[in-house]
Subunit: 338 residues, 2 copies
């Protein structure tokens, strides 16, 4: 039996494929390489000595999925494939709904036809919209998402919940990620954003290496210890191990689960800059600018449900997150194309 990983050549996907191969699972990847690189999987193979089977195809391509389900005995699907840029989603909502929502519908249909009934879905803390409180627990209201990316993640969760009622044999876990950062300690795989990074840590990292000039910090007058926004950053290897834990515990409890994956600890932008400066032994050029509309002061997870249901918790520190990010960045100044 093999595990099918959609979007397995991407950032979180490739680290999860690595973790699966390391523990001896067979892995099949489907990825259209639109926002990822085959090189990530070559390096996973180099690190693990095992080669995941790659299908270069789109999740919307039902024929490709049929072929995969027919060629391989798939026990579980981990579904990462999707578009993920908030700003782009505002400009191109149809593409986001098409890739993220329709893509999942196509996948579910093919899983039904193939009799594969275990799914782990790559969701996001964005489904909570503006946090009603911190820490955010799974009991908090979802909804009020502020962009098509977030709304598409919420729609997929809703579809999966309804689907699970209609198909009680399915085991479905939605993992709501907080802010994934870091890289494999080898420096061989990591986050490789297209163009100018949307996320803080890749941005800091490209300032450190000299590709970008200056980091803009959006507001230092929030009601937080140092005035900058506070978020829950989680090492990508902790995220990867969260997926393995979700596989191991899929049969327990209810058929549909939604579980936070975070550390339960919030760090500010200034905390991150300082930790990165320590890791990279350099100074990060930054300036304080106006708050961004829609940003909240602070957001971190209540991560107790993951501990209780999956026996999982994040173990890697902020220093490790920054050390591994920098190690990846300095060894791969141009990502996988270097």
């Amino acid at each position: 039996m093999a595990i099918l990983v959609t979007g397995g050549a991407g950032y979180i996907g490739s680290h999860t494929v690595l973790a699966l191969l390391e523990r001896g699972d067979d892995v099949v990847v489907i990825d259209n390489l639109s926002n990822s690189s085959k090189a990530s999987l070559d390096r996973v193979a180099e690190l693990t000595g095992k080669v995941p089977t790659l299908y270069v195809a789109d999740i919307l391509d039902k024929h490709a999925l049929k072929e995969i389900f027919s060629n391989h005995e798939i026990s579980d699907v981990i579904h990462f494939a999707g578009l993920k840029s908030v700003g782009e989603s505002v400009r191109k909502p149809l593409e986001y709904y098409e890739n993220n929502v329709v893509g999942t519908l196509v996948l579910l249909n093919e899983m039904l036809l193939a009799g594969v009934d275990s799914l782990i879905f790559s969701s996001s803390a964005t489904v909570y919209g503006n946090p009603e409180k911190v820490p955010l627990s799974e009991e908090c209201q979802t909804g009020g998402t502020t962009n098509p990316y977030g709304t598409s993640k919420l729609m997929v969760e809703q579809i999966l919940r309804d689907f699970s009622h209609a198909q009680p044999e399915f085991r479905i876990t939605c993992l709501r990620y907080f802010n994934p950062v870091g890289a494999h300690p080898s420096g061989r795989i990591g986050e490789d954003p297209n163009g100018i990074p949307n996320n803080l840590v890749p941005y800091i990292s490209q300032v450190a290496i000299g590709k970008l000039e200056c980091l803009s910090v959006y507001g230092n007058d929030y009601p937080t210890p140092d005035g900058t926004g506070v978020r829950d950053y989680i090492h990508v290897l902790d995220l990867a191990s969260g997926h393995l834990a979700a596989l191991d515990h899929k049969a327990e409890g209810s058929a549909f689960k939604a579980i936070n994956l975070g550390t339960g600890v919030g760090y500010s932008v200034i905390d991150l800059i300082k930790a990165f400066e320590k890791a990279a032994q350099t100074q990060i050029n930054y300036k304080i600018v106006d708050r961004r509309p829609g940003d909240v002061a602070e957001c971190w997870s209540d991560s107790s449900l993951a501990k209780q249901k999956l026996g999982w918790q994040a173990t890697r520190s902020l220093d490790e997150m920054m050390r591994d990010t920098w190690n990846w960045q300095k060894n791969n100044p141009n990502g996988f194309s270097s």
Copy 2:
């Protein structure tokens, strides 16, 4: 220029096509006839002396849409096509999300490609979930839908709102219907449900004609004047004229509108039974049974926004709704197949 009506052979669709033809609009219909009959459009042609162009095709079929947009100069699309049974949606959620959500995405993509930028969407008061108050105004919170049918309508509204931000040249109106009943006074077109009706008035009507034995009234201990549930029933011809008003006022105000179509008046189940008995000059056999989970005591619309934005209001009374329903039923005991 013609108006494209998706699902134009259905219940509300056919009455709207009739109203459009009567006022001189050219009409093109796309309908897969999965839950409707070509006979409805033949009768519309007989009533109006004008023939709408029918494409028997699915809204998911982008090639059919391309053909329509290439063969006709379309000014506006009225989008009725979709699945509409609450109970079925619980059993077959993927079909509902596919037809209702993906169908709309396919339509929007083809409208974009064809440069057609005016859309009226067939939404529903179900997007409000459990009413937070009555009357329900458009200011009320949406969400908390309790079945895939309702969730699919809400998702389409969310997609249309996001799409409208990205494509500000589009004019989009979501019309949130309350409870459509009645038929054309000619008795030639009306509601023709597959199998046992899900809705109250067709059910009463089939009891009256002797096709069904007894109406179950779900609860008579609600906090309403007679203890039975209260809803806002609206004559289908009033709904049809609401669509014409939405077309006429599309260019006014914001690019995205969501507007209730209801009468603003609530009637109880017992009110409906009595009005039907008067219209049909017969007695309706009914029994009181337990409440149904999920039903609310009362729900009716605040219909002032439609008056303000569209210059529209419902004008037909409960007696007319029941008279026209009965006239349709007795002349067509087996619907269009009779």
